[in-house]
Symmetry: C2
Subunit: 457 residues, 2 copies
């Protein structure tokens, strides 16, 4: 039998222990904050019926769905001309299921299917992988985790304020202290589009304005012009482009510029309310920047939107984003489910933290101390020590084979185990063991109680 | 547009918050014990190349693999007679990837691909879903989690002893106190097959003997006879069937019966060594029963095998199983990677715990206290309290809308929030708030410090 060298599908990744510990640090940090704010977990199946997924992500999205071949004799009901029609016409005949493309559509599906059992407002978080048949490239994968939290069934702006609080707490707990939360309100963008006389072209306006950071104001104006915005309209944008200063000042200026727009006013009131809540919650507006050019791609946002970037990293794309929507579930026939949600980009956060080198050097999850294996007699003593350490909830292990000490040390080193405990013949006689700090090389002779005390702190 | 009622694929499940909290309790308990014993996490992609998966699970397993349709124009290279050949011949032309069927093959693939970077002994655990295109039925799903831990690259029997320790600790931490860990050694089964003169028929013997609990001794003998075992051979089994008593006694009897078998002897020595290690580790043999009829299906086990059952549940199938194998990776061309592993059946454990009604009533993860929302003035005060509670790491939330108190109470009830905090006009005046225990109905007027003290314990 010829044995092929095994490989994994392109765009997918194995996460070995070292990467996993770092990823778990990020995911646990996020999960703990979600739960601290009353969000509870939901998990949905990896496979969804294609009837649920198709048509929800645009024509391009439909192309990027991974489709599962029907089980058994999938050709049994296929006719000659289904095949003649090519891949596109054959697909629905031989595939009924696809892999989850995001967590929003499965969430909407779940809410619709369980609408009579759910107590609203429904605060759920969901941390699961999604799959996209995208062309793999640096930083873009075919399988990656999403971390979403949404609350549906309430219009209260306390939700928006708490989302900002959660973001701040996650960033602080990750050690990511230099970041900016940009906020805006879709109502303002619509009001501005109306004011400049380009009613109904909000989508085009959002797409163009969103790129201002990357391509600059001039190119944005060109794009708008190319998309049929009149010269006058573009000129009328000037005072908005020129707005600057702290959030309150921006809101004051906007209030004058949009004084005739009910929608604009409502957008301003919402932002003011969120800032007020932030103050009442003792957090205030630090890290928070009102940015009128923030638009975010997804068309379903209708209220406040936000986006987070790390400031000192070479990775400049956003690491968190979200916003309020009017209608999560109408696509499945349930109207009036409004809410607000946001999502952490785990892969981006991972890359930023690597880039800034801010991962903690020790991870909760990994072994705290390795007991060396000298010979059968000391091994037996070591087993007793092992049990006592574990009773004290110290993460520990013993090297299973009595191989050369150098090899056992290398094992501790590679596994980043911070301490090594030596229990040899002499140590047993004296009832004191050698504890070596693998980082500093420092070595101390300590009694068992001292060791347990030290390691369990 | 006609809107179809959404559904999920048969054999798959949504896990809403209540189920998720229970599942997380199980998974966290297992994960914590794995990590306490020095096992570190690994995650592999949901999709594997079919070249990796095919042929690893027998012909039936190949049928049960979920296959992913190639992206893009998957028919472009397909010729007329590939289609004429039917589903079977067409499949490899239009599908290159499949969903993970278990965690063992991806682990073996990972070890082979990373053999030069891994420090052996390699202790890894993996908790991820797997997919099987099985006919769905009660207790059998098309998507379910597996929880595996394996250590490869050592023959030390301390690993087997520690696995038994881990099982005991997981069961204790789950509150599953009445359970039996059955152990056996494949070497004994081979030695017995040889002794009765049926060399090479160990597989048949194992399959038959494994069913003795379900079908009884007589039917097992019938099955052996039907599979060509001689009358004399079956008669020679009698002394083995008759073995009884505590583990040590069984081993003593076996020693006599198998005195001429080097393999049998080696199996006995291994079991004795594991029992000795258990004693040295302070755990001993409670819960552990040597059972010669335990065989376990998987053919790759070569040493000690084990299986766990809950004793007082109506669910009698095993909730944990594992064993030692000689060769994990030879199928991918890497010889000599031996190890021992075991796996918790999360769905089974969940069912057993539901059946015995032993899930803890309160979950770490869920909100500890809901702050009621009376009116804008008390709302502002409540926001301050909320912040103080969160600073003390108390999981809490405020009802976002000032709706009827009854509705807010129902929310707390449905979400199983154990306490509700009322901050009304009077309470603000007096600086004391009403804390209600939702289980007992008891209500106390307490100062903020008292409340924080009470809830953060």
């Amino acid at each position: 039998m010829k044995i092929e060298k095994p490989s994994i599908p392109k765009g997918t990744r194995d996460f070995g222990p070292e990467k996993m510990l770092k990823r778990q640090f990020i995911l646990n940090t996020i999960r703990n904050v979600f739960e601290k704010f009353g969000y509870l977990p939901l998990e949905t199946p990896a496979m969804e019926n294609l009837s649920v997924l198709t048509g929800k992500y645009g024509a391009e999205g439909d192309q990027l769905l991974f489709k599962i071949l029907n089980s058994g004799d999938f050709l049994s009901n296929v006719k000659e001309n289904d095949i003649q029609g090519g891949s596109k016409s054959l697909t629905p005949m031989i595939s009924e299921k696809g892999l989850r493309y995001d967590l929003t559509v499965p969430f909407a599906r779940y809410v619709v299917m369980n609408q009579h059992d759910i107590t609203f407002p429904f605060k759920r978080y969901q941390i699961q992988p999604v799959w996209r048949a995208d062309r793999p490239q640096r930083g873009r994968y075919r399988e990656f985790y999403q971390c979403d939290a949404d609350v549906v069934g309430t219009d209260s702006l306390i939700c928006e304020a708490e989302i900002i609080l959660m973001i701040k707490e996650v960033m602080k707990n990750l050690g990511l202290n230099d970041f900016t939360i940009k906020v805006n309100n879709r109502k303002l963008l619509t009001a501005i589009t109306n004011l400049i006389g380009e009613q109904g072209k909000e989508a085009i306006f959002c797409v163009a304005i969103d790129k201002i950071d990357k391509i600059g104001r001039e190119k944005v104006e060109e794009e708008l012009s190319g998309n049929g915005f009149s010269k006058e309209a573009i000129q009328k944008l000037n005072p908005f482009f020129d707005i600057n200063g702290p959030n309150t000042e921006i809101l004051n200026t906007l209030e004058k510029l949009l004084k005739d727009s009910a929608l604009g006013n409502s957008g301003i009131i919402e932002l003011r309310q969120v800032f007020e809540y932030l103050k009442a919650l003792g957090s205030g507006e630090n890290h928070v920047e009102l940015d009128l050019t923030l638009a975010r791609g997804l068309s379903y946002y209708t209220g406040i939107i936000l986006e987070v970037r790390a400031n000192k990293s070479s990775i400049t794309s956003s690491i968190t984003g979200g916003g309020r929507y009017d209608n999560l579930t109408s696509v499945f026939g349930l109207e009036g489910v409004s809410g607000v949600g946001f999502s952490f980009g785990v892969d981006r956060i991972y890359d930023v933290m690597e880039d800034l080198d801010i991962f903690p050097k020790e991870y909760e999850a990994s072994t705290k101390v390795l007991l060396l294996n000298f010979d059968p007699i000391s091994f037996k003593e070591a087993l007793e020590v092992l049990t006592k350490l574990r009773t004290a909830q110290v993460k520990c292990e013993i090297y299973p084979d009595a191989v050369k000490i150098k090899k056992q040390m290398t094992y501790a080193d590679k596994k980043r185990i911070p301490f090594v405990l030596m229990i040899g013949e002499n140590e047993i006689k004296e009832g004191k063991y050698q504890l070596k700090n693998m980082t500093t090389g420092e070595q101390n002779e300590l009694g068992l109680e001292e060791i347990i005390d030290f390691l369990s702190n």
